[in-house]
Amino acid sequence: MEKMAPFLHSDTTYKIKIQTFNKTLTQEEKVKRIDALEFLPFEGKVNLKDPQHVFSVLEDYGLDPNHIPEKPLNIYFGRWIADGQRELIESYSVKKRHFIGNTSMDAGLSFIMANHGKVKENDIVFDPFVGTGGLLIPSAHFGAYVCGTDIDYNTIHGLGKASRKNQKWRGPDENIKANLRQYGLEKYYLDVLVADASKPSWRKGLFFDAIITDPPYGIRESTRKTGSQKEIPKGIEKCPESHIPVSFNYHLSDMFIDLLNFAAETLVLGGRLVYWLPVYTPEYMEEIIPRHPCLKLISNCEQRLSSHTARRLITMEKVKDFEDQDQYSHLLDNQFLPYKGLNSFREKYFSGVTKRIAKEEKPSQE
């Protein structure tokens, strides 16, 4: 009762709302419920248009629209503090976005990532695997200035084959800046560059408030880094502009070591790294989450992809300044060895499929 006291004063105004989940009430039924709350010691005046305090009764009628109970399963009563922003998921939907790629993140998840990154106005947010820039959009929506790099020349320039069904080539309004302009967020666009995330070209300094990224898992986008001039047998792709060979030998575990070192070096203290880690579920254990002496693990949330694979949204916070020896910690510390298992993610992802097919075709001999 003491908690309610400040909101019951005679010189305050208030209003009560009735909200139901999985049931519709008539206006009459709602008014009846409000009247039933007369026992509450409100001394202030009711103001339906612009009250200082809004109180809600929330009636929960379960999750099954085909079996709606007579009485609510639960009733909650509370004071409104803030709105969520779920409408952003629709307004930023990938379906309406000008420029998408094969693996563009859905709007809801990309906003959750920005939240994990604690992105705020005037931050600088960076994505080292920026692709079509989908992950930059929520940060820009929250007032941060955004930049990114990608090793793929065509994607960064908005060229090449389209990802949309029924569309062959990318159109003239498809590039990352155009995506931001679509939402009126152009002013937050800093730059994107063609660059190899494993060979960063930043001068020494703490530039980024958050690094929010979805690295390639090697399934629908290949894991790549620039290669050697010696590796120019047939089939090695070369960057269209500079003809630098782009090899396909970037081991997943090396990619995460590079990413964590990069974050430790370039994040401000207190800054956040948010990224997806692909996981082969039968072998998953918490120990395989990549670690770094400068970064503290804040959260680790699973999203199932298939019966035997998942990805985990990892959030880390920089808690210690980077020193040169920190980049070698993965070599010295045994705890960093388990995530070598990530390297075979691609084989395991596909092996589950082939093993199942083989099982169905042959009776077991054992």
């Binding site: 155009a178 560059l193 930043w202 001068r203 620039t226 050697s228 960057c239 782009v246």
Partner: protein, 132 residues
């Protein structure tokens, strides 16, 4: 309509060559611009104030000058700049409104050239060229 873009001087101020052996002498990259664009961006004094301490000031002045857009930027940072709106507007202009659409960035130590096309710098180096 393709959204036109150019490399901003704020970004240029953070970039360094990572050619093997150059270390900190890979900064700042020398800009050769064949096409420059000036594009208005909403002025945000809080953002500009936050960015100034992160900038290598001499390199910023040098880059702006090399593009012919020094815009009365002082060569030395003076105390109390946070409250000087005129000054902040000049910095805003140089950091965010002057863009290199076509040109090159050159490593001052090794001479290696990184192209900028359609406003996007290409920083790729092969294994042999890059620092280990």
């Amino acid at each position: 309509m393709r959204a036109q873009a150019g490399m901003k001087l704020l970004t240029h101020n953070l970039l360094s060559s990572h050619v093997r052996g150059v270390g900190p002498r890979g900064f700042p990259l020398r800009i050769q611009a064949t096409e420059i664009r000036v594009s208005p961006v909403d002025f945000n004094p809080d953002f500009v104030t936050r960015m100034i301490p992160k900038m290598e000031w001499a390199a910023l002045v040098e880059a702006a000058e090399s593009l012919g857009h020094l815009s009365e930027l002082p060569r030395q940072l003076e105390e109390g700049y946070e409250k000087d709106e005129d000054f902040l507007r000049k910095v805003h202009h140089v950091l965010l409104e002057v863009e290199v659409v076509e040109g090159t960035l050159q490593c001052p130590e090794s001479g290696r050239v990184f192209p900028i096309s359609r406003g996007i710098p290409n920083m790729l180096l092969s294994d042999e060229e890059a620092a280990s």
